[in-house]
Subunit: 119 residues, 2 copies
DNA sequence: TCTACGTTTCAAGATGCATTGAGATATTGG
DNA sequence: CCAATATCTCAATGCATCTTGAAACGTAGA
């Protein structure tokens, strides 16, 4: 992940509807969601979601596959991982306490602690 | 971190010069950097970096303090942690292998030498 | 083949953002 | 107090982007 890729990724997510698309696809998992389903979930027209989906695809954040009449979109998780790594690279500089909160934040997603801390 | 905050954060970093500013401040640590130093490091005019620094400040990604004639800017690490959490929340859905790469990516920042300082 | 469905493409209008340069503000040292 | 330094503010220009609606495309079933 170089600067140009990271810039495209951030620009792609710096938009209300596209950010919602990404989050829907992140929670949807590898199965993904159809374009029409995303359109109603996000609350935009079909032509408009097609525009945004193309933007996200060009940014490498989502992938698509055809299934019958529908086109299924899904999140590209390695792109998100790379983005996190790019943003936080060299964040410590000998001070682990600086980026520990970031690790803890990500942990709450993957390692439920028993309480309902799953935001 | 709600959607509006995340959106402002992504919009703030969806710009070449601002993304460089954030990365410079992330690696600079809590000590931060003066506005003029950032201007030369990023390669923009003083009035222009003032504009971008204000944008990042409004997005809550950086903080400022005065030291003599200079104004020192520094990264707000909790904002970055919150952004990561917001983006990856509910990413697993019972599939830890989905977001494990994100954890690994962030680990490379904190444990570059294999020194197990934490986690 | 014909029709219905899901999605994409295209052009046009409206909106918002980045950059620039001059001037204003705040701080320090003489 | 005065001058130099560091930074900020402001208005204007130019550029990029979001949205919309109509039309076209590919697919599936009758």
């Amino acid at each position: 992940m170089d600067e140009r890729q990271a810039l495209n990724a951030f620009a792609a997510m710096a938009q209300e509807h596209r950010l919602r698309i990404v989050r829907h696809l992140v929670t949807a998992g590898p199965d993904g969601l159809a374009a029409g389903v995303l359109a109603t979930a996000v609350g935009v027209s079909t032509s408009n979601i097609s525009f945004h989906l193309k933007e996200l695809d060009h940014a490498g954040l989502i992938a698509s596959r055809r299934e019958g009449r529908s086109i299924i979109y899904s999140a590209v998780y390695p792109a998100l991982s790379g983005l996190i790594q790019f943003l936080m690279s060299d964040c410590c500089q000998g001070r682990p306490e600086v980026c520990d909160p970031a690790m803890a934040a990500l942990s709450t997603c993957c390692i439920p602690t028993g309480d309902t801390a799953h935001v």
